[in-house]
Amino acid sequence: MAIVLDNITYTYGMGTPFEKTALHGISLTIENGEFLGVIGHTGSGKSTFVQHLNGLLHPTTGTVTVNGVDISASTEEAKKMRHKVGMVFQYPEHQLFEETIAEDIAFGPKNLGLSADEVDERVRDAMKFVGLDYNTYAERSPFHLSGGQMRRVAIAGVVAMNPDFLVLDEPSAGLDPFGREEIFEEIIRLHKEKGITVILVSHNMEDISRMASRLVVLDKGRIVLDGEPMDIFNNHRDALQAVGVDVPPVSVTMEYLREQGLDVSNRVLSVDDAVQAILEGGSHVK
């Protein structure tokens, strides 16, 4: 099980004066169970890229296959596979429309043609997963919730489709640190407990470095770096800077301490790692 992008190119407004190529020959395999971080500044082709993962856009050339099925086909099987890739857009709370929370979450499962019982089960399951008590919230209007809660309802609506892959575009945008923490705990649980493959698009290096097992950096519609986050932050700093991407603040701090002649490891992804690295300083193996 994997998403395979084979040499895809995407051109907007083909044949019009506004023609613009957003992706240039991207090849990438997203393996089942991965936690992939996708980073790139605004206009790097990130959002065009993720829209290919579930067939919202079809490549101009090249193919995208999910579990071996070409998803640009118009077969039932291709449609099924497209639904295996859940998509949470930026500010997903703006897509809520039903009168009650339960009905809104049920929208996706109903479109899959499931029976009423199955839909109900999916809804309960998804609500539990995002930490909204069914009895309290199911019949409430989603529009009276706080911003963070609305976002969780929207994510539940995607989770209820039971995707194998989940794409999240800036899921923490506009939330305060509390709200951000809640959303990320949820995503980590989806990854760990449900075994969902997560593709996280974010500007926030801290979040990516903390969670992703693999990082892909996009620039001008091309993949410029692909590897383990720690390796990219420590060994490809110049390349990151060249494409306008920041390294996580904790990496900046450790690098500064090293420049100052303090012998500490820079292999850190969190503040706790950093404290540990300082305590072990001078004794780590170079």
Partner: protein, 315 residues
């Protein structure tokens, strides 16, 4: 303090509204705050802390239920001076799309002065100067929908500047922007604060923006919790974390090391101070006198090494 030096004065102010269930909610509760002319003040707090409600009082978009707010010497409850206040205190909002009125950048910047009834040639001058100040002159004839978030916010700032305000209140102007856009906006307001002496009230939940202010006010559940310099505020790592706010990485590392008994210093808020703190702590021997650094010292005299590294670290 001379009364003329005070830009905004909030005196035992509460803001009470009635929610859907008919209960009275105190969105702001007995807040006292005084902001001086020329100050750069950041107001931080989580969602629902009342920070945005407070900001709306500075531009008379809201009026106090109890107590008083004085802006430029005018009481905001005095209907006669609402427009004077709005002219002196400009406001920039969170969503860059929903505050741009016109479909051409320079026409939007002109919107404020046009409302003030200023003569055409004077508006032209102000618009040109305002666009120059936010570094957006080359986009003056563009459609706003083609600009990035950071650029749109700079247009919104220019729109306020063209009204020649004494103070600009920015209500979470960076919440919807990418890191580049956030930097653009922050740099722009700092420049206006320094070069034009405009008082800035900057509302945010990004800690890295708050550390650049002269003063930080922390709000929680409608109450002003702390008020002090960034150094005073951000050394309280545990209280801020409890509030659900971030602190600078250097502060947090120092705090955790201190907790373990390695006295690295109490008021560390940046990387430079953390490095100094570590060098003066019990950890110094182990960190500085290792083979790794000794090898470097052989090549370069120690004194040069530190100045070089500091030079690099500061930009």
């Amino acid at each position: 303090m001379n009364e003329k030096d005070i830009m905004i004065d909030v005196n035992h102010m509460s803001h009470i509204y009635t929610d859907e269930n008919g209960n009275d909610v105190r969105a702001l509760d007995d807040v006292n705050l005084s902001i001086k002319r020329g100050e750069f003040v950041c107001i931080i707090g989580t969602n629902g802390s009342g920070k945005s409600t407070l900001a709306k009082h500075f531009n008379v978009l809201l009026q106090p239920s109890e107590g008083h707010v004085n802006v430029c010497g005018f009481d905001t409850r005095d209907e006669a001076h609402i427009w004077d206040i709005r002219q002196h205190v400009g406001m920039v909002f969170q969503n860059p799309d929903n505050q741009i009125v016109a479909a051409v950048v320079e026409e939007d910047v002109a919107f404020g002065p046009e409302n003030l009834g200023i003569p055409s040639d004077e508006i032209r001058k102000r618009v040109d100067a305002a666009l120059e100040a936010v570094n957006m002159t080359e986009y003056r004839e563009h459609g706003p929908h083609l600009l990035s978030g950071g650029q749109k916010q700079r247009i919104a700032i220019a729109g306020v500047l063209a009204m020649k305000p004494d103070c600009i209140v920015l209500d979470e102007p960076t919440a919807m922007l990418d890191p580049k856009g956030r930097r653009e906006v922050l740099e722009t307001v700092h420049k206006l604060n320094k070069e034009e002496g405009i008082t800035i009230v900057f509302i945010t939940h990004f800690m890295e923006e708050a550390v650049t202010a002269d003063r930080v006010v922390v709000m929680k559940n409608g109450v002003k919790l702390h008020d002090g310099t960034p150094r005073e505020i951000f050394s309280h790592v545990d209280t801020l974390k409890e509030l659900g706010l971030d602190v600078p990485v250097a502060s947090e590392i120092a705090f955790k090391l201190n907790a373990k008994g390695y006295e690295v210093g109490n008021s560390i808020i940046n990387n430079e101070e953390l490095a100094e703190g570590l060098k003066g702590s019990k950890l110094a021997d182990q960190l500085v006198n290792s083979n790794h650094v000794a090898a470097k010292v052989e090549e370069v005299p120690a004194s040069e090494l530190t100045t070089d590294a500091r030079g690099e670290g500061s930009h």
